[in-house]
Symmetry: C2
Subunit: 141 residues, 2 copies
């Protein structure tokens, strides 16, 4: 792993025991940020619960928890735009996750590569990227 200082590798938890000690909110959820592993582009933020974290670590394919559907949200299940896990990180307070992923095509339901396509510029909020794929094509028919 690039830039890793081997000396400083201190094991905090064995296997998946850390999942129990993460700080979940009152709904049992923790925010998870997805970043493209090579370009470092920020793609999206979503939520995970214990079961979706375990599934993600076991399968290597990112699975969030959909708050609106109250169901597993296996990224790409309906759009085909899957998110494969490259690295799984936890922050200092155990209350935020960082997923380094390899995202196929758009991460955003609008068909854009990233969900963060609105920028505050010259005193206005602007859209500054176009969809890669028409969402009608993504979610089809």
């Amino acid at each position: 792993m690039q830039g890793m200082n081997v000396k400083s590798q201190v094991r905090l938890y064995k296997h998946m025991s850390f999942v129990e000690d993460l700080k979940y909110n009152e709904d049992g959820l923790i925010p998870a940020i997805a970043q493209q592993f090579d370009s470092k582009e920020m793609l999206m933020m979503a939520w995970m619960n214990k079961a979706s974290i375990e599934e993600t670590l076991e399968t290597g394919r990112v699975c969030f928890w959909s708050r609106s559907r109250q169901a597993f949200w296996r990224k790409g299940e309906s759009s085909g735009q899957v998110q494969m896990l490259k690295e799984f990180r936890v922050d200092c307070d155990n209350d935020t996750l960082l997923l380094l992923v390899d995202q196929t095509g758009p991460a955003c339901h609008t068909g854009r590569r990233t969900c963060f396509y609105k920028v505050f510029k010259d005193e206005n909020l602007l859209v500054d990227s176009e969809p890669l794929i028409d969402p009608k094509e993504l979610y089809g028919k």
Copy 2:
């Protein structure tokens, strides 16, 4: 701005009116991700309220809302490690912010550059970076 497709700049809001339309949680807060603008390193995730967003946009210096202290958290106020705003982004659902920042020194209260210093590797959760500065020095005396 690099990579910006000028054709696609659609103005959604004038001035700071968008701040009213962001989706805040029941505590009036919205998650804000801080990313180093040039290296694209993920630094931290924290929370903002309306007033801290307005202050950040007006001053160009990042101000979060501290949930533990229930007070403004002007990044660097006690440690000197300020976070200057380079770009302010909003996601598709208006419920997450992405701040491109220029972070002086460590972003993390442990003295590390990033809060995301724990990595799941070889079936264990490991620490893989060292503090840049001893936190005792940062928060002093």
